[in-house]
């Protein structure tokens, strides 16, 4: 099954490549339309932030790791005063902890301090 699926994918990809090259002139969609330069840095920053969060939140616990994550995310798209972003992050983290951990009994990483 994996071999057959892989073979099918390979053949279809080859067909798409040939078809795409043969009809290249028809598709006027320029690269800059698909990859706009606006906010590319923000996108990359968000991804790096999320990967670091994933690596750290098991060790630090949900609350300690989520507050800084939300702080950066709240300030990412619009400039907000740092204290407003901090208050929003603390409140949001607390509400999510209460909703999921206490309310729905979901599993969240406890970290060294148990939260």
């Amino acid at each position: 099954m994996p071999f057959l699926s892989g073979l099918t994918l390979g053949l279809l990809a080859l067909a798409d490549l040939i078809y795409g090259m043969a009809n290249r002139w028809k598709h006027e969609k320029a690269d800059r339309e698909i990859w706009p330069s606006i906010h590319r840095g923000k996108l990359f920053f968000t991804l790096v932030l999320l990967f670091f969060y994933t690596l750290l939140f098991n060790r630090l616990g949900f609350i300690i790791s989520t507050i800084p994550l939300l702080f950066f995310l709240f300030r990412l798209m619009e400039p907000r005063p740092w204290w407003a972003a901090l208050i929003a992050s603390v409140l949001t983290t607390g509400l999510f902890y209460l909703g999921f951990k206490v309310g729905l009994d979901s599993q969240l990483p406890p970290g060294p301090f148990g939260f």
Binding site: M1, N23, P36, H39, L43, T46, F51, N58, L73, D105
Partner: protein, 485 residues
């Protein structure tokens, strides 16, 4: 208690439908871990509620903001927003809510009439029939939902490959696990779906910085006039029937139903020129169709155990997690689940009517929440949802990886729906294929000598050849069958 879960489901569903950027699939995957502690019936009732709640909620954004909350509401934008601009937002929202309720009712009646004969028919199915039916389902989905069938087939093949990750269920060999113990059980459906539909959408929106303008006129007079009703009765009936049958079709669903019913209404109308300029029929028909399709889509899942679209694939995953295997025996083994879901649909439809009409003002206010505040919350929902299934950060990483894959797929116009359906059906297809081959001692002729299986495969092959016909007649013509339409 089931009533509470039904209410919670439709409430969250409406919310998700109202807010662009988080579809019903992402919302269901988010809330799936939260249903682990409930009974299977309560879990399915809540998740189903999210689905048809999103169908209702999506219409609100289409009419007031001209942004469909989810894909099935795209057609409602055309006339709904024009009605709102003419000061008729109230009747547009009203006919959408009443129409959805009416169509939901038709869908439930249809489900009651069709399910039992279909179950009796499905008892004749063996592994070859199941395999062929799943192949047909995948082919129909790739044929109908994508602009390019070639690319949709590529995505289906990719989904099948992702579905093979983990232990081979017959030989016990580890496949594509790269010595990562968490992958021995395979890649989870929830992280994949959240990544492809939730994280990727957020990534696109961060890049584009979406701006929303909410229609500022006060919404009043939700009850349509007698003239509106007279115009809408026909479209509502036709939309409900068309939607129901397209919902049952493997690979069909609410999106296609709303497109087809709108096109048919425009064709049968005496004033087709009014469509797109605020015709109430253009709101009534697609809204009725997408809701009855949402009900109809439950039939193949509950009677055959085969999901007809991505949302049903999510429900299949939820049922399996709860130890329930959907199929022809579901009705006799778990009658409480089958009839519980059917009853909850009707109750859910009434709840939606009550929620939608008086609370429209509240939903409009929600639309004013800026995306810069909304997106961190969506990300946090996804992170918690992915982690809490197995308490594993590997699942979160998988979600992020599929988020990036989903983002690239959207950029390159590759659709996620065929991939997810193939990913869910893949292991079932493989098992059915291997059981069939064991039965026939390795001969593939078993798929063509049994009438039901042969018919399904012939249809699947026909669907594959169909887009090639114009190309064969005129070399160089587009393979992209929808571009030509």
């Amino acid at each position: 208690m089931n009533l509470f879960y039904c209410f919670l489901g439709v409430l969250i569903g409406t919310l998700v439908g109202v807010l662009p950027g988080l579809g019903p699939v992402a919302a269901m995957s988010l809330l799936l871990p939260a249903t682990f502690h409930t009974s299977p019936v309560a879990s399915i009732i809540m998740l189903s509620g999210i689905y048809y709640g999103a169908m209702y909620g999506g219409s609100t954004t289409s009419i007031l903001v001209n942004i469909p909350g989810e894909a099935a509401s795209v057609m409602t934008c055309l006339d709904g927003y024009q009605m709102a601009r003419q000061g008729r937002a109230g009747p547009a929202l009203g006919i959408s809510a009443f129409g959805s309720f009416f169509a939901g009712t038709i869908g439930i009646v249809g489900m009651l009439l069709i399910s039992i004969p279909l179950v009796n028919f499905a008892l004749r199915f063996g592994p070859p029939e199941y395999f062929s039916l799943m192949v047909l389902g995948l082919m129909v989905l790739t044929f109908l939902t994508s602009a390019s069938m070639l690319r949709a087939l590529m995505m289906a093949a990719f989904g099948l490959i992702v579905g093979t990750i983990g232990l081979d269920n017959i030989s016990g060999l580890a496949r594509f696990t790269f010595n990562i113990p968490e992958l021995l059980d395979g890649v989870g459906l929830v992280p994949v779906v959240m990544g492809l539909f939730g994280i990727s959408e957020v990534m696109l929106n961060i890049e584009m910085k979406i701006r929303r303008e909410v229609f500022t006129t006060e919404v009043k007079g939700l009850l349509p006039t007698l003239a509106d009703w007279a115009k809408s009765v026909g479209p509502l009936l036709r939309g409900a029937v068309i939607g129901f049958f397209l919902g049952i079709l493997p690979g069909g669903g609410a999106v296609i139903a709303s497109f087809v019913s709108y096109a048919i209404e425009k064709r049968v109308s005496k004033h087709p020129e009014e469509f797109g300029k605020g015709a109430i029929e253009g709101v009534a028909a697609p809204e009725a169709a997408n809701n009855s399709a949402a009900q109809g889509a439950f039939i193949p899942l509950l009677t055959l155990g085969i999901p007809s679209n991505v949302v049903m694939a999510m429900l299949l995953g939820a049922l399996i997690i709860h130890g329930v295997t959907p199929g022809p025996l579901l009705l006799s083994q778990h009658p409480d689940l089958f009839w519980g879901v059917v009853a909850s649909m009707y109750v859910g439809n009434i709840m939606l009517l009550v929620l939608n009409l008086p609370l429209i003002g509240m939903w409009v206010q929600l639309l004013r929440v800026p995306y810069s505040i909304l997106f961190p919350l969506i990300i946090l929902f996804c992170l918690i949802g992915a982690y809490s299934i197995n308490n594993s950060s590997t699942d979160v990483l998988i979600m992020l990886v599929f988020g990036v894959i989903g983002y690239l797929m959207k950029k390159l116009s590759l659709e996620a729906a065929p991939m997810v359906l193939a990913f869910v059906l893949g292991p079932m297809m493989e098992t059915a294929l291997r059981q069939s081959l064991i039965k026939s001692r390795g001969s593939f002729s078993i798929f063509f000598t049994r009438p039901i299986s042969a018919a399904c495969l012939m249809l699947a092959i026909a669907l594959m050849i169909l887009p090639l016909l114009p190309w064969l007649r005129r070399p160089g013509a587009a393979l992209d069958h929808k571009d030509a339409a």
